[in-house]
């Protein structure tokens, strides 16, 4: 469809039209009055709304839905200057949507070189323009992400040349992105690390990842320890197209490690000094006591000669006190060890029945002297407990001695063991004076002694229950007391057993 002016156009009408229709771009021929005189199929298809009339209509009305001429307008420029113009522009469709056109304007001149018509061609590049805009946005986004990362990130090509450098990298190495672009990333490495460099590149290209610790160099030539991570970016065919190089500055970390190491060694020294101290103190106390206790006993047993009554009595006292002293030394050394966590336990399976019998046997004399009755009850299903036999002995002996101490003449003491809730429960009860409510927790504190009216040989330094609690807790149990003033107390503790 072409309105042919009466002026000379020597091409055949249909031929011209079919050429026009074969062209993908939209073509409109416009006269000096901005009327459309000719158009092609592409243009027609582009016009989403069917137009009643195109030929003879104003181009700005048909193409751009404008009531007046567009400004700027390359067609006008062509008319004005007789030149070819091209441009891209976006253009509001009125419904909030934007279209992008790549437009060209060619002059058609007559014999006297006057521009008679303009050929206006345009391609809708909206899709492409939107994609390009998106890419620009993504690039900005990418730069923002890279820069906000605290670590140094360089993006390299497959040969290791730097394509991008984030802010972290700029700050770490001291080079600006522009300074390093297109440089090989080997500028960050020491000369002697050439092998490492080659190996790391080889590995990342083959396996997709490389991680290692290296020494790198900054622009100001200082070296620093770093953790290097290389990963590849792959295209759809799984081939590497770029390498991401992330560098973690380990300077601070290494410094902290050194400090920790030093402190550890210092602690080890102190620890072994403590160990020596405990050993030598222990030795210093125990060794003299060996002869004091042993030889006094031997004299008392009249193994090296008879004793008269007075000698016997005197030695008896010495022996008693020397055993007391030995007990006190043992307790104090134990507390010191437990306190500093240097207590070593020998954990084994312990038969409570036997332990009870031994302890009761050892306290028989004391029990008789106060006419106290002792009852022992060990449930048939009670298994052996996991404990340090000697320390467990100390705990039970301590509890029993306390009971004896605080129970008046003719009273009753009971010791039982039962299976309860995955543990073994041991109870030592007495019909003694009892413990006031407010003191029930405090009895387990160091140096605390309940103000009892008992005039018994006090003896205790108040250290017993503190050790008992520490030992039981070290053996993974719990210890506590239930009591009623004037009626008696029951000390209870639990210990684990091997199921």
């Amino acid at each position: 469809m072409c309105w042919v002016p009466r002026e000379e156009i020597t091409l055949e009408r249909e031929f011209l039209q079919s050429v026009l229709d074969g062209i993908e771009e939209s073509i409109v021929v416009i006269d000096r009055d901005y009327n459309i005189v000719c158009y092609n199929n592409a243009f027609n298809s582009w016009l989403k709304r069917p137009k009643k009339k195109i030929i003879g209509e104003q181009c700005y009305a048909v193409i751009h839905d404008q009531p007046v001429r567009c400004s700027p307008c390359i067609v006008r420029e062509t008319f004005r200057t007789g030149q070819f113009f091209e441009t891209s522009h976006s253009h509001d469709m009125g419904n909030g949507k934007k279209v992008y056109h790549e437009t060209k304007s060619y002059p058609i001149k007559d014999a006297s070189n006057e521009v008679k018509y303009a050929i206006y061609m345009f391609k809708d590049i909206t899709e492409r323009a939107l994609i390009e805009e998106k890419v620009r946005e993504l690039n900005k986004f990418k730069k923002k992400i890279l820069d906000s990362a605290g670590v140094s990130i360089n993006i390299l090509d497959k040969s290791g040349n730097i394509m991008n450098s984030n802010r972290g990298a700029e700050e770490l190495f001291g080079y600006t992105e522009d300074e390093v672009r297109d440089e090989s990333h080997s500028i960050f490495y020491r000369k002697e690390d050439g092998d490492l460099l080659a190996k790391s590149m080889q590995e990342v290209l083959e396996r997709g990842k490389f991680e290692g610790e290296v020494t790198l160099i900054k622009k100001n030539e200082t070296e620093f320890p770093a953790r290097l991570t290389l990963t590849t970016v792959e295209n759809d065919s799984r081939e590497p197209v770029a390498i991401i190089e992330i560098v973690d500055d380990l300077t601070q970390l290494k410094k902290a490690e050194r400090i920790i190491q030093q402190q550890l060694e210092h602690l080890k020294e102190i620890d072994s000094m403590k160990e020596e101290y405990f050993y030598s103190t222990s030795h210093e106390f125990k060794t003299p006591l060996t002869s004091i206790v042993g030889l006094t006993r031997m004299l008392l047993d009249e193994k090296v000669g008879k004793l008269n009554d007075k000698q016997h009595e005197a030695l008896e006292l010495v022996y008693c006190d020397s055993k007391r002293l030995r007990g006190a030394v043992q307790r104090i050394l134990d507390i010191a060890r437990i306190d500093s966590g240097k207590m070593v336990y020998n954990i084994e399976n312990v038969d409570l029945n036997r332990v009870f019998d031994e302890i009761i046997g050892g306290l028989n004399v004391l029990l008789e002297s106060k006419s106290l009755t002792i009852t022992k009850e060990v449930g048939g299903d009670v298994p052996t407990v996991l404990a340090d036999k000697e320390r467990l002995y100390m705990v039970i002996d301590n509890l029993m001695s306390n009971s004896i101490k605080f129970t008046p003449q003719g009273g009753k003491i009971t010791i039982t063991a039962s299976k309860e809730d995955g543990n073994v429960l041991v109870q030592v009860s007495d019909t003694g004076v009892g413990i006031p409510e407010e003191d029930k927790e405090r009895v387990f504190e160091k140096y605390y002694q309940v103000k009892s009216g008992s005039r018994d040989n006090a003896g205790g330094s108040g250290l017993g229950l503190v050790i008992c609690r520490k030992i039981i807790e070290d053996l993974k149990g719990k210890i506590w007391v239930e009591s009623k003033l004037g009626e008696g107390s029951t000390f209870k503790f639990t210990l684990p057993y091997k199921s």
């Binding site: 125990k286 060794t287 003299p288 006591l289 060996t290 042993g294 006993r297 084994e348």
Partner: protein, 123 residues
């Protein structure tokens, strides 16, 4: 007592060694004391003993090393540890399998020491 059993006490602590000698001699044993592993080995070359009572914590040569040496040179010699160190039952059983005749803790009960030494040296 005819043919008293002979005991060799090895301990670097003079008072401990003398105390043990006192106690055992009062029971009719014949006890000699030395103060180091080297001295004990020299003694064993020249004289026979029914039991060697070995302390463990000694300077220069400790009880373990002495035990090992004695087993090499005098495999039938009865040796018992007399020491402050407490080992668990498991360790003690292992030692006994390896030939240790006994294990006595310091501080000891006199009667305990005596009965242990008696039972080891009787047979």
């Amino acid at each position: 007592m005819a043919n008293p059993k002979r005991i060799l006490v090895v301990d670097d602590e003079l008072s401990v060694a003398k105390t043990v000698k006192f106690i055992l001699d009062a029971e009719g044993f014949e006890t000699q004391i030395v103060f180091s592993g080297e001295e004990s080995l020299k003694k064993l070359e020249k004289e026979k003993f029914d039991l060697v009572l070995l302390d463990i914590m000694m300077p220069k040569m400790n009880g373990w090393q002495v035990f090992e040496e004695i087993q090499k040179r005098h495999p039938k010699q009865a040796v018992a540890f007399l020491t402050v160190i407490k080992y668990s039952d498991a360790v003690r059983e292992k030692l006994e399998k390896e030939g240790l005749a006994g294990y006595i803790n310091k501080p000891f009960d006199n009667d305990d020491l005596i009965s242990r030494v008696k039972s080891i040296t009787s047979d």
